[in-house]
């Protein structure tokens, strides 16, 4: 059972990773990031059931989701600011800082 969960979590993590690295649009990258966080949360939740240390795992999942939410707020505002500034929300449009 746990192998299946870990496979799903690994797959999700890898998909998120691929999105982060390969996709051009910022939102797609953001989604990839969230996907990786969710994969980690899934793994954590599963392990929490098995672990003997009580509720530590579950508390961790809750806190991770809270932190992910906070991150999302900040991330989306930044992406929107880029959009409003007239530049396409693409990774390539933000290349002035170089060298």
């Amino acid at each position: 059972m746990s192998a299946l969960i870990w496979a799903v979590s690994g797959l999700l993590f890898f998909l998120g990773l691929a999105a982060v690295v390969l996709r051009r649009q910022l939102l797609a990258v953001f989604l990839g990031m969230e996907l990786m966080v969710v994969a980690a949360a899934l793994a954590l939740g599963h392990e929490a059931t098995r672990a003997a240390a009580g509720a530590e795992g579950f508390v961790a999942v809750l806190l991770v989701l809270a932190v992910a939410a906070a991150e999302a707020v900040v991330g989306l505002t930044l992406v929107l600011r880029v959009h409003w500034s007239g530049r396409p929300a693409e990774a390539d449009s933000l290349r002035e800082l170089r060298g």
């Binding site: 982060v20 690295v21 390969l22 996709r23 051009r24 910022l26 990258v29 290349r95 170089r98 060298g99």
Partner: protein, 620 residues
């Protein structure tokens, strides 16, 4: 501690005091009086040399230390004095001839702009020559040996405005420096193995030295002597050194400095004589130099250059005598040569002084014996002594060498006779061209006048010496015995058999006759062969091509230095290091370009970094 007599201290202190007074007192205040304290010190030195000679004559030699010069823990180099036969005999000649030449110089150099500078350096040379003759260990010997070289640089180059004088001074100094390489290496090798270079200590252990070391030391000493005493390979600086004023030529390049080389050989004789074949080698080199130089002397037109080549020839002769293991004969000829060569140089000086030029060529003089009788008489006396006519000093000392040549037999006899004939030829050619019948195309001097007394008197004294010194031969030999290292056969002076004297006289007469025939009978012969065969004349002017060798050495050294200095050091190695800074810049720019600024690239790098860490953790 051996009680050191006052005379020894005077030898050093008098010149030092004179130099101090000269430099600090008379030079700034009254430059033309600089020679007064210096002449006084010459007198003091000559007297103390005479007293030491008397002391040694009675057999009381001396070898003591004045003070410790270099010191390092238990090791030290003393600054000492060794008064023995060899040293004192040459010392007395040098001090006497030197003093007289000082007097002569006072007259000759009067009115010269650098009068004070000249006399100070001249006397410093005098002091260092004396120091060299009385020092008791090789390090101190090397000290004065180098000092003499430096003084010769400043004296030859006295007339700095003349380009030829400057080049001659530089050539002399560098050649002597190359020769001193040998002496310094020898002294260092001795110090390296024995930590002590006192002559007394080394003579005692001379027999026990390993053969290889002895050979090396011998060769090095000969190399050093060849430089200083102008033997064959390194003689070319001496003729050019005539650029200096005549007193310099007289003192240095006739009587004293050039004999230092021979003196070194005599001082190191216990080592040289133990090396099989080395004395013969010296004899061959000496003879070759003598004949070669005599030939060249005969072809020169400048009076002083003739005498310069004659000095080279006679130094060769001394080396020849030494080489034939007749040390006494060599030293005796050294002493007599000092006198008559000085007279010849001083007379040439008087002629030049009269013509108001630094030097005079043969074509400018002629038929002067009536106008300058005293100079003529002194010149002739010295010329006879040089050629070796009976009852002159040269006769006794030259015959002693010829006697050694006859004893050795074979090639030595031929060489001895050739030298005798050659030297007679060139000296009488000079005598006839200068003092008798003026040639048709000669420009005779306007109004030749006799030299002032301050120059004439010393010449006269020296001429007497040139004649009389010969009779002191036996006294000299007795003196040489005192302090002579026991391991070597004593330097005896055999009475030359009548046959030898006759043969020598015959050769000399032959030379004189040939000189008479070529100069008086065929008046223009001396000039004609030069015009008809310019190539031969040029060859002679270049010392039969030998002058090109040192010139080639110098230019190749400068070329090599430029290759190392400019090409290797500056253009390639330094450029490589500067280049490395450029390489850093290129790496830096490449690193900068790596940061493309796009988000996906930086994320890609983050992921690869994490993957690398993961792999590393997994792998270990």
């Amino acid at each position: 501690m051996i009680e050191i007599p006052l005379a020894v201290y005077l030898l050093f202190l008098a010149p030092l005091a004179a130099l101090a007074v000269g430099f600090f007192v008379t030079r700034p205040l009254k430059p033309e009086w600089t020679h007064i304290p210096i002449l006084a010190s010459c007198v003091v030195v000559t007297c103390s040399a005479a007293s030491l000679a008397g002391m040694v004559y009675e057999g009381r030699g001396l070898d003591g230390t004045l003070f410790y010069w270099m010191v390092a823990g238990d090791w030290s180099v003393p600054f000492g004095v060794r008064i023995d036969g060899v040293g004192v005999s040459v010392l007395s000649m040098v001090s006497l001839v030197g003093a007289l030449i000082h007097v002569y110089a006072a007259g000759y150099m009067k009115g010269e702009p650098g009068f004070a500078r000249f006399f100070l350096v001249f006397h410093l040379f005098y002091l260092s020559m004396i120091g060299l003759l009385v020092s008791n260990n090789y390090v101190q010997f090397y000290l004065f040996w180098e000092l003499v070289g430096v003084c010769s640089y400043f004296l030859i180059g006295y007339w700095m405005h003349k380009e030829t004088a400057r080049r001659a001074a530089m050539q002399a100094f560098l050649t002597l420096r190359v020769a001193d390489f040998g002496l310094m290496l020898a002294v260092l090798v001795i110090l390296g193995l024995y930590r002590n270079t006192r002559f007394a200590a080394l003579y005692a252990v001379a027999g026990a030295l390993p053969a290889g070391l002895l050979a090396l030391l011998g060769v090095l000493f000969v190399w050093a002597a060849a430089g200083k005493s102008a033997l064959f390979p390194l003689y070319f600086w001496l003729p050019d050194a005539m650029e200096g004023p005549t007193p310099v030529s007289a003192l240095m390049h006739a009587a004293t400095m050039v004999t230092a080389g021979i003196f070194l050989l005599v001082r190191s004789w216990p080592f040289i004589s133990l090396v099989p074949g080395l004395p013969e080698f010296i004899a061959v080199v000496g003879a070759a130099t003598a004949i070669f130089a005599a030939l060249l002397a005969a072809s020169q037109t400048d009076l002083k250059r003739i005498l310069a080549y004659s000095t080279v020839s006679h130094l060769g002769l001394m080396a020849f005598g030494l080489g034939l293991r007749h040390v006494g004969a060599g030293v005796f000829h050294l002493v007599t040569h000092g006198f008559f060569k000085a007279v010849l140089f001083l007379c040439a000086g008087i002629l030049a002084h009269a013509a108001h030029k630094s030097t005079v060529t043969v074509s400018e003089v002629g038929g002067l014996w009536r106008k300058m009788p005293l100079t003529f008489v002194c010149f002739t006396a010295a010329a006879l002594s040089l050629a070796g006519f009976p009852f002159t000093a040269g006769f006794y000392s030259k015959d002693a060498i010829l006697d050694a040549a006859f004893a050795h037999g074979g090639w030595a006899v031929a060489a001895g006779l050739a030298i005798a004939a050659g030297s007679a030829f060139y000296i009488f050619r000079m005598l006839f061209l200068t003092f008798f019948g003026s040639r048709a195309d000669q420009q005779t001097m306007e109004h030749p006048h006799e030299a002032p007394p301050v120059m004439a008197v010393p010449v006269a004294f020296l001429a007497l010496g040139a004649i009389g010194v010969g009779w002191l031969g036996h006294g000299l030999m007795r003196m040489l015995l005192s302090g002579w290292p026991p391991s070597v056969p004593p330097p005896g002076l055999t009475e030359p058999s009548h046959a030898v004297s006759a043969a020598a006289l015959m050769a000399a007469a032959l030379g004189a006759g040939a000189a008479y025939w070529t100069t008086m009978r065929l008046p223009s012969w001396d000039w004609d062969w030069r015009r008809e065969r310019p190539a031969l004349a040029a060859l002679f002017a270049e010392d039969l091509g030998w002058r090109r060798v040192p010139a080639a050495c110098v230019s190749s050294a400068v070329w090599f230095a430029d290759k190392v200095g400019r090409v290797l050091d500056h253009d390639s190695w330094d450029a490589a290091i500067e280049g490395s800074a450029g390489a850093c810049r290129r790496v830096s720019e490449a690193g900068g370009r790596l940061a493309t600024g796009s988000i996906s690239d930086s994320l890609w790098w983050v992921m690869t970094g994490a993957a690398a860490l993961l792999a590393w953790a997994g792998y270990r």
